[in-house]
């Protein structure tokens, strides 16, 4: 979403389309607000912003979007959190492993996610208010 928020940074849609995107500036502004609500919420609960940024970078990497991954990771200083951006990193404890494994599935295989996996998340200690 960070890339799309700046239409001029989307070379694959072409300069003319970037100009057309300006007519939807309201949409890009609302996209920025939605991104902020997910990545830097006022109440981050059990998932601090640095953690969310690292996971966003991980998801960008899983989608083969290295520039977007770098964008999210740029705001993360803690090496332990930065390590989570590597899709090969499993997480530092059972709860984190459960959450990250679930998020990888949501990102890459949404059609395959089953109800039992939600129950698995609850079992590993995640409340109803997991990140959007």
């Amino acid at each position: 979403m960070a890339q799309a928020a700046n239409p001029e940074a989307s070379p694959w849609i072409g300069a003319a389309a970037s100009a057309a995107a300006q007519s939807r500036n309201n949409i890009f502004e609302m996209s920025r607000q939605a991104e902020s609500a997910v990545i830097d919420p006022r109440d981050a609960g059990g998932f601090p912003s640095g953690w969310r940024r690292a996971i966003a970078a991980r998801i960008a990497t899983l989608n083969a979007l290295p520039d977007l991954a770098a964008h999210y990771l740029a705001g993360v200083a803690d090496p332990a959190l930065r390590g989570l951006a590597d899709p090969n990193a499993a997480g530092r404890d059972a709860r984190e492993r459960g959450v990250i494994s679930f998020m990888d599935r949501v990102a890459t295989q949404p059609r395959a996610v089953q109800a039992e996996e939600i129950e698995g998340l609850k079992a590993c200690g995640s409340a109803n208010s997991t990140p959007s």
Partner: protein
């Protein structure tokens, strides 16, 4: 008894949450604000009540959704629905596909497009413009970085202008998010009998 619906349909099923919805009688002021609940408007779907666990995101999600799907100009509403259906087919969100196929049929006054989409999924054969729109939304949903300038050129060849292309990208991308919420947070169900 309810059974989970596994096949694409235009007959919109019910939706059964996998995550406990917010209890409206116990909702916080921020949740009530995000839910747009007023004394004269207390009807809120289970889906929105589940999303209300994160009121900050819900508060921006609804206007974003409405802007992308309903703002004037650009791609027609029916063709935005086609982008939404393409994403929903790839992500196999039965509920989203049903809602937006029904809207597409209503807006276009035609069921042949969604009949074909549901019969053949990602291999559906459509008219040239619909085919270009559907194929683009499928490819973008499957793998965003796989989309190239050649794919965009195909949209132009099918008659889409630049503003319409941007709207197609927006509606498809929106459903990358919406499908994940709807399909993963609950099940499409139909009551037996």
């Amino acid at each position: 008894m309810s059974r989970v619906v596994h096949r694409f349909t235009r007959n919109v099923p019910d939706w059964q949450p996998r995550v406990t919805p917010v209890d409206l009688t116990k909702a916080s002021p921020e949740q009530l604000d995000a839910l747009k609940v007023t004394p004269s408007n207390t009807k809120v779907s289970d889906y929105v009540l589940v999303l209300a666990h994160d009121p900050e995101t819900l508060n921006v999600r609804s206007p974003l959704f409405n802007g992308i799907m309903y703002d004037s100009g650009g791609l027609s509403r029916a063709e935005r629905e086609l982008g939404a259906i393409g994403a929903s087919v790839v992500n196999r969100c039965i509920y989203c596909a049903a809602v937006h196929a029904a809207r597409h049929a209503q807006l276009s006054k035609d069921t042949t497009v969604t009949d074909e989409l549901f019969a053949n999924g990602e291999k559906a054969k459509l008219g040239p413009r619909d085919q270009a729109i559907f194929d683009y939304s499928v490819k973008l949903s499957q793998s965003p970085p796989a989309v190239t300038e050649a794919d965009t050129a195909r949209l132009r060849e099918a008659g889409l202008d630049e503003a319409e292309i941007v709207d197609l990208i927006l509606s498809t991308a929106l459903f990358g998010w919406a499908n994940r919420l709807m399909h993963i947070l609950g099940d499409p169900v139909r009551k037996d009998g």
